[in-house]
Amino acid sequence: MSRYELRFSGAGGQGLITAGIIMAKAASIYEGKQAVQSQSYGPEARGGASKSEVIISDGPIDYPKITQCDALLAMTQEAANKYSHDLKEGGVLLVDSDLVTTLPKGNFKTVAFPIINTAKNDVGREIVANIVALGAMVALTGQVTRENAEKAVLSSVPEAFLELNKKAFSIGYEKALAAANA
């Protein structure tokens, strides 16, 4: 049975748990697959290490955590160092190129672009960096369609910020494809 494992990692407050939830929701509610999302974080509200894990499958999912990671997002150098060890051969690593300057080595594809600065400068609000990253992860992993992921984004964010998030998602998606093909 197919089992695809994603990890969104970085620091508390970056919105990575939310990004993982939306990815799983896209798969589970809109794509017709099964998905489980779980997370771990420290007692701090902000700043501590944070990760969100998503398992996507065509059938029932038993173990809800990562066994061998197919796709990893690392939004801090610490996360990149800590979580790239179980990245599968042929897997994909997405990093924020401003924050992760020492790239982990391994038999996986690394895609890098300045995620937070894209949110700040191209979208206009740093706060949607997680949605930029989500758009990029959707593009790089192909587990859910762009349309279904966008539906999941729009059903998860406050109404006043639909356009902002839609833009963030779209720019993230495009930037990741451009960076991957560069």
Partner: protein
């Protein structure tokens, strides 16, 4: 017609399950990793005319739900380890005064403040032995978000049916993970109402055993004569020290659960028909176990899983039967060996019991379980 679905956290699903069961009163004190229950209740209860109260502490919250239940409400509180410790005195009060209520406790690392955001399964003994004295105990340990929704409904039903506190204890992984939930239609899952008195208010006794081991419960303030106390009591609810009465009442209270084990105990048997090695697991750990059993089967090992859904009363009969025919048990749990003791008690030396005990805040992974399965000779 397609059913309503949502992508929810275990804690959120628990709350919607409680509302489906008719819960209309919640009192609690927020504590990680159970706070989402209070959050959703605070939003939802006012919409249906229910009451949400954030109390000054966990003891106050337990007292509030007991009082509200006696007044006729269906009640819930939610907490985690340290909060459960504080509630224990009043849980005992709920047992002896026979007050229906549901206590939803998310298991995090302990003792004391421990590891608030880390998963654990170390409260399962506290569910039975946490409050002092002989008393009935019912504790359910769901393993998925959907099951959390359904088991909370079952907890309310058992609590009303047997007029006793019932605990639901997901570990932090189940409580915080998100999965798709398919909501049942109204009426699709049975909701058990409280047994109401059939006698006139002046003839009513709150512990009248002429109606069986579970006496009807009138709502306080509805005109029925009523007295409630934590002391051993006679049928009219007033304290007594008459030896034969006290003995009979204590035995009846425990018998409510002991004589109905088959009605209460639920479990899942996975690949057990020809299993030589049986993994006994509960909560999120059972998900790792299922994964490990599947891999073991692919490698030609006859492994299976007995999944505990009702931790208390413990599935004694089923474990005894398994012990007579298997080569060994493997017990993965996020504590230092609690369920394992119960398995050893039931196995009575007929089959070895191998534990995997983890209290470092990390889940037990399938590889660990598979390696232990292979140790059974």
């Amino acid at each position: 017609m397609s059913k309503k679905v949502a992508f929810l956290q275990g804690n959120e699903a628990a709350t919607y399950g409680a509302l489906y069961a008719g819960c209309n009163f919640f009192a609690g004190y927020p504590i990680t990793p159970s706070t989402e229950v209070a959050e959703v209740m605070a939003a939802e209860l006012p919409k249906i005319g229910g009451k949400f109260i954030q109390m000054e502490d966990e003891i106050g919250a337990m007292a509030a739900i007991l009082g509200a239940s006696l007044a006729g409400s269906k009640v819930l509180t939610s907490t985690s380890g340290p909060g459960l410790s504080l509630k224990q005195e009043l849980i005992g009060y709920g047992c002896i005064a026979e007050i229906p209520c549901v206590i939803y406790n998310v298991m995090r690392g302990g003792p004391s403040t421990g590891m608030p955001t880390g998963p654990s399964q170390s409260d399962v003994m506290s569910a039975k032995w946490g409050t002092h004295g002989d008393h009935p105990a019912i504790c359910l340990t769901p393993a998925s978000v959907q099951e959390t929704y359904e088991e909370v409904i079952r907890a309310f039903n058992l609590s009303e049916k047997y007029r006793t506190p019932v605990m639901v204890m997901p570990d932090e992984i189940v409580a915080h993970m998100r999965e798709r939930v398919v909501f049942p239609e109204p009426g699709e899952i049975e909701v058990v109402p409280r047994k109401a008195p059939t006698v006139s208010p002046d003839q009513y006794k709150p512990y009248d055993t002429s109606f069986g081991d579970v006496p009807p419960l009138a709502a306080f303030g509805s005109g029925y004569k009523f007295h409630v106390t934590g002391l051993n009591k006679a049928q009219d609810g007033f304290p007594t020290t008459k030896a034969e009465l006290v003995q009979a009442e204590e035995e009846r209270q425990v018998r409510k659960v002991d004589a109905n084990v088959d009605d209460i105990v639920q479990f899942e048997e996975y690949q057990l028909a020809d299993a030589e090695v049986v993994v006994v697991a509960y909560g999120s750990t059972s998900r790792s176990a299922r994964y490990a059993v599947n891999v073991a089967r692919e490698q030609g090992i006859k492994a299976g899983m007995f999944r505990i859904k009702t931790f208390w009363p413990f599935p004694d009969k089923q474990i005894k039967a398994l012990a007579a025919k298997v080569k060994g048990f493997v017990i993965p749990e996020m504590n230092l060996g609690m369920c394992s003791l119960e398995i050893e008690r039931n196995a009575q030396g007929k089959a070895p019991v191998l534990g995997i005990f983890r209290v470092d805040g990390e889940p037990i992974n399938p590889d660990q379980i598979l390696a232990k399965i292979k140790e059974v000779k």
